[in-house]
């Protein structure tokens, strides 16, 4: 199965860049899970834990947005800290 290319980007730096089989993100209205072959999507994020690859890498995020297109996931947020 294809993997997702995931990057977590804050204004100051790219906090994470790598491949992962799945991503779980805190969307504005609850958690959203993303697997490969997801349809192109843009969603606003709320506050919560962003988990990449089933919890291998986790970030506390607040606000910002998530973009999925062609198995590339970009999490763009002003407030993110690694857990």
């Amino acid at each position: 199965m294809a993997a997702l290319k995931v990057s977590v980007i804050s204004p100051e730096a790219t906090l994470f860049e790598g491949e992962a089989p799945s991503v779980t993100a805190p969307a504005f209205d609850g958690e959203v899970g993303i697997l490969p072959l997801h349809a192109p999507m843009v969603t606003v994020l709320g506050a919560g834990v962003l988990s990449i690859g089933g919890g291998a890498t986790r970030f506390q995020v607040e606000g910002g947005f998530l973009q999925v297109v062609d198995d590339v996931v970009r999490v763009v947020t002003e407030k993110a800290s690694k857990l």
Partner: protein, 287 residues
């Protein structure tokens, strides 16, 4: 050997100055590298934001967003001028102030009321000197500006723009094209000029809606524009300081060569004279 001692004193003093300028050059070089890294690190975020905004933007939506409002006439504007806290960077601050003055003259010539927001001791000092009132003067932003600094600068202005108290916001700072090219520029950050979409548009699923996403992203976009200006100005400042200090070091070296040559010539002339005197004295004794 009065002249010799005087020359020696000058040589010493120029040597000391050269030590200082050389150190400053090296410090500026390393600071510039780090600032440059931050400029590069800030790019993915800007690109991601611009990408998404470009793909969501359409002119019909634009009318509903206060941040995209294009006033027919700019009757009140704010100018944010970014300068450095420290001097000894050549014409860096002078160029920025000149750029700001050009912009001020242009806006005021068109009948716009302009308020100045100045970052950095050098800019604040200048406007104090010409007795112009500042709406905001900030000297607390360091060599490592953060996204929070940018937010604290522009958030209040954004709120006032939305409320209709301001018609435009400009940022005057240095763009960091490369180490040798750091031209002062004036950019309009408000109203937002939506980035142009490039390439084929994807059909995105949008949650909750295009409108809600834009509401969230447009302020980030403005803050990021200011953050980018802050980071680039710091990098440009260090580049300018490095160049200025390199020139100063080179000039000190040239001056030292000249002084040393003069000193040695004077020393040799004195020795020659002494020998001539001794020889003269001895031959006088022999009679």
């Amino acid at each position: 050997m009065a002249k010799g001692r005087e020359l020696k004193g000058r040589i010493k003093s120029v040597e000391n100055t050269r030590k200082i300028t050389r150190t400053m050059e090296m410090v500026a070089t390393s600071k510039m590298k780090r600032a440059q890294d931050r400029v590069v690190a800030a790019r993915p975020y800007a690109r991601a934001l611009a990408d998404v905004i470009a793909s969501l933007y359409n002119p019909e939506l634009a009318e509903r967003f206060p941040l995209l409002r294009q006033p027919a006439k700019e009757s009140r504007a704010a100018v944010i001028l970014l300068t450095s806290n420290r001097g000894l960077a050549g014409a860096f601050n002078a160029n920025l102030i000149k750029e700001a003055r050009t912009l001020l003259a242009r806006l005021e010539g068109a009948g716009t009321q302009v308020e100045m927001h100045v970052v950095g001791k050098k800019g604040v000092g200048y406007f104090k000197y010409i007795n112009r009132a500042l709406a905001q003067s900030r000297t607390d932003i360091t060599d490592r500006p953060t996204a929070a600094d940018a937010a604290s600068l522009v958030d209040a202005l954004m709120a006032r723009f939305i409320a209709g108290e301001l018609d435009a916001v400009y940022v005057v700072g240095s763009r960091f094209n490369s180490v040798l090219s750091t031209p002062p520029t004036a950019d309009r950050v408000l109203p937002v000029q939506p980035p142009a979409a490039k390439g084929a548009q994807k059909d995105y699923l949008l949650y909750p809606s295009a409108e809600a996403i834009l509401t969230e992203l447009l302020p980030s976009y403005v803050r990021n524009a200011v953050y980018r200006a802050l980071v680039e100005t710091v990098a440009a400042e260090q580049a300018a300081r490095r160049t200025a200090m390199k020139n100063a070091t080179d000039n000190a070296g040239e001056m030292l060569n000249l002084l040393r040559r003069t000193y040695n010539r004077a020393r040799q002339a004195q020795i020659t004279q002494e020998i001539a005197e001794i020889v003269g004295g001895a031959s006088a004794l022999q009679g």
